[in-house]
Amino acid sequence: MVQVKFFAGFKEKLGRGKIEIDIEHEVPLAGFIQKLKNEIPEIEELIEKGNAIIAVDQEVGSDDTTVKSNSEVAIFPPVSGGYGGQDKYD
């Protein structure tokens, strides 16, 4: 079971902090996100317009990232001050 966690503004917009998604085999991150969009359609807008960061097992994902059946996936807005976000302690 893959644990998917949401943080900050994303958690508030979705009205939930987590969801569990069942996958049988290791899958590419893009495929996993598609499955997640099928479960929670609102995710699509957050990812498209919210500059979402997607982390798999506590590392920011890339095109090569895969999701294992026991992975932890996190989807969150840009970190303020980094990843294109605003400065936090200027």
């Binding site: 996190a74 970190v79 303020s80 001050g81 976000g85 605003q86 936090k88």
Partner: protein, 140 residues
């Protein structure tokens, strides 16, 4: 107590510096960065701040930051403490301590550490204002 941590309560700068100093008698210069909560941001009065973080990843990224700084600069010890939860105006938010034999390396490491922390550690700030609550990333 580990050299990097996230906590809800305040920290004592003096105590934290004492801990760093106790690690080595070779230390000759210590530079600290203290981030505090100000009452005005982007044209709005701020009542208080709320910091949310991703617990496991935050600890991991803070530990990596410390290791990277120790490898990258000629420094002896690093300590990073970040608060979470509600923080009132004027209170401490984050403390970075960089200790070295000589001051130049400690200054360089401290600047690098706060810049990197802002980029890679999953901590989000919410501003509580008269007009409502705003996550900072929602207003690019």
């Amino acid at each position: 107590m580990t050299e990097v941590r996230i906590q809800s309560g305040d920290f004592s700068i003096e105590e934290e510096i004492k801990k760093v100093k106790s690690k080595s008698k070779r230390i000759g210069g210590i530079v600290t960065f203290l981030g505090t909560a100000r009452d005005f941001s982007r044209g709005k009065e701020i009542r208080k701040l709320v910091f949310e973080h991703y617990p496991g990843m935050t600890q991991k990224k803070l530990e990596e930051l410390r290791e990277n700084a120790l490898n990258r600069f000629d420094i002896i010890e690093v300590s990073i403490i970040h608060r979470r939860g509600e923080i009132d105006i004027g209170e401490n938010i984050v403390l970075i301590i960089a200790a070295a034999e000589h001051r130049a390396d400690a200054f360089k490491a401290c600047i690098w550490l706060i810049d990197e922390l802002k980029k890679v550690v999953p901590i989000w700030k919410k501003e509580i204002t008269e007009d409502g609550d705003v996550w900072v990333e929602e207003n690019p």
